[in-house]
Amino acid sequence: MYELYTKILSMIGIPEIFAQMSWPVFPFGCIAALLVFVVIFLVLMERKVLAWLTIRKGPNRVGPNGFFQTFADAIKLLFKEDIMSKQTNKVLFTLAPMIVFVPVMVIYGLMPFTEHLIAINLAVGLFLIFALSSITTVGIVLGGWASNNKYSLLGGMRSAAQAISYEIPLVIAVLSIAVLAGSLNMLDIVKAQEGGILSWNFLPAFIGFVVLFICSIAEVNRIPFDLPEAESELVSGYNTEYSGMKFALFFLAEYSALFIISVLIATLFLGGYLPPFNDYLSVILLDNIINNPAIMDLLVHIEQGFWLVAKTYAIIFAIIWIRATLPRLRADQLMAFSWKFLLPLSFLNLILVATLKLFI
């Protein structure tokens, strides 16, 4: 990849020293671009799907069928005045959206989108992903505290309470995957699920799949677990006092977290980039026609990306569907559900999976 990169740069006429310097930053540039495009599409998708599920039409004024609505919204947010009230702690107030946003962006680099498309291939990838995803909560609490606003503070506090109670079943549910794969490396976890839909992890660890799904909805603060925002109670929760670019960062972090948590569920339980059949479709269909292995590799690579995106968006659709159906939980119901129900269930799942692993 590096040779190709320097070749392209030298063709444009940029010296090699610049290529050497910019190469380590290059993957993160790609990730940032991916993230922005994903979020722009996701916001539109959420509004459209939610409208269809509630017998409405959704945005349909800007561009064909409203496809440019999100661009219009983004431009509006960028040009808005950045308001900060008098008594706020200005350093923390500015820092909070960044602390929310940066870990999510790093997680993008740890995800195996295809076999080769993984920016940082770590041996402890899974561990780092969950370590980073908890940092987001610190940013939310910080934003709520620094705003000097009762609603923001309540939202931030709720977020902390929610994160503490939901991260434990989440991590224990994921632990069963580490047991099944025998590794914390994301690529190894995907490769352990090779061989069609029946060898995906959601079959042996079905309870874990359900627990992880519920917990990840709580993790990204979406309805029915959107207590930190709780529009009808706390105005807008932790981001009440934010406007302009800082609010846009919160917004961006929220939706990119939704995308990445869906990729995570797909990777851990639904075989990641692997196809639901025994072999890749392009191999099954075109093996006799195309004899060039380079083209075949490229086709398989594209197909891997297709499968991951298809699974991810199926999960996102399910999450939006749940949003359209269920009402928000009360704070005590939320806690009771996590500690009394999900935590024992995740332990049960871990014991079952460990027993299964021992005998197979």
């Binding site: 509630t54 017998i55 409405r56 569907w321 269920l326």
Partner: protein, 158 residues
């Protein structure tokens, strides 16, 4: 323990029912009315802008009794000026002005009218640039015979 399990199962069934209901909505036609392009079909009882009806031959229905002006809760909102016809000894309605800007669309004037001359129509787009332009005189209020017939039809059908 048994209680928890039965509660869980019934909860899953209930959530599943709710989810399938929402999924059915996915395939339904949207009920959104794209307003400025498409206008809603309103009921005959809708109380919009006031109007004066005319008979088939184009003459006023109004007999100039001023009941509407008396019953109006907004004071001098309806102003009627009449003059006596020397030959037939009937009242002629010379001026009939309504300040729509102050009207509360209560419909009392239509109830009290002995000949059903004043009616509420289904026109609701009354925004304008000045208060003066909202004061409507007799020419602006009076509907022509065909429109009057339509309005009467609609009122009767309700």
């Amino acid at each position: 323990m048994k209680n928890v399990i039965s509660k869980t199962i019934s909860g899953i069934i209930e959530i599943g029912r709710g989810m399938s209901t929402i999924m059915k909505h996915f395939f339904r036609k949207p009920i959104t009315l794209e307003y400025p392009e498409k206008k809603p079909e309103l009921n005959g009882r809708f109380r919009g802008r006031l109007a004066l009806l005319t008979k088939q031959d184009g003459s006023d229905v109004c007999i100039g009794c001023k009941s509407c002006a008396k019953v109006c809760p907004c004071g001098d909102l309806i102003q009627v000026e009449t003059s006596k016809d020397p030959e037939t000894k009937k009242l002629n309605v010379d001026q009939f002005t309504i300040d729509i800007g102050r009207c509360i669309f209560c419909g009392n004037c239509t109830d009290v009218c002995p000949v059903n001359a004043i009616v509420t129509t289904d026109q609701f787009e009354l925004a304008d640039y000045s208060r003066e332009s909202l004061v409507m005189d007799k020419a602006a209020l009076t509907l022509n015979p065909e429109e009057s017939e339509k309005v009467r039809d609609k009122k009767e059908r309700v």
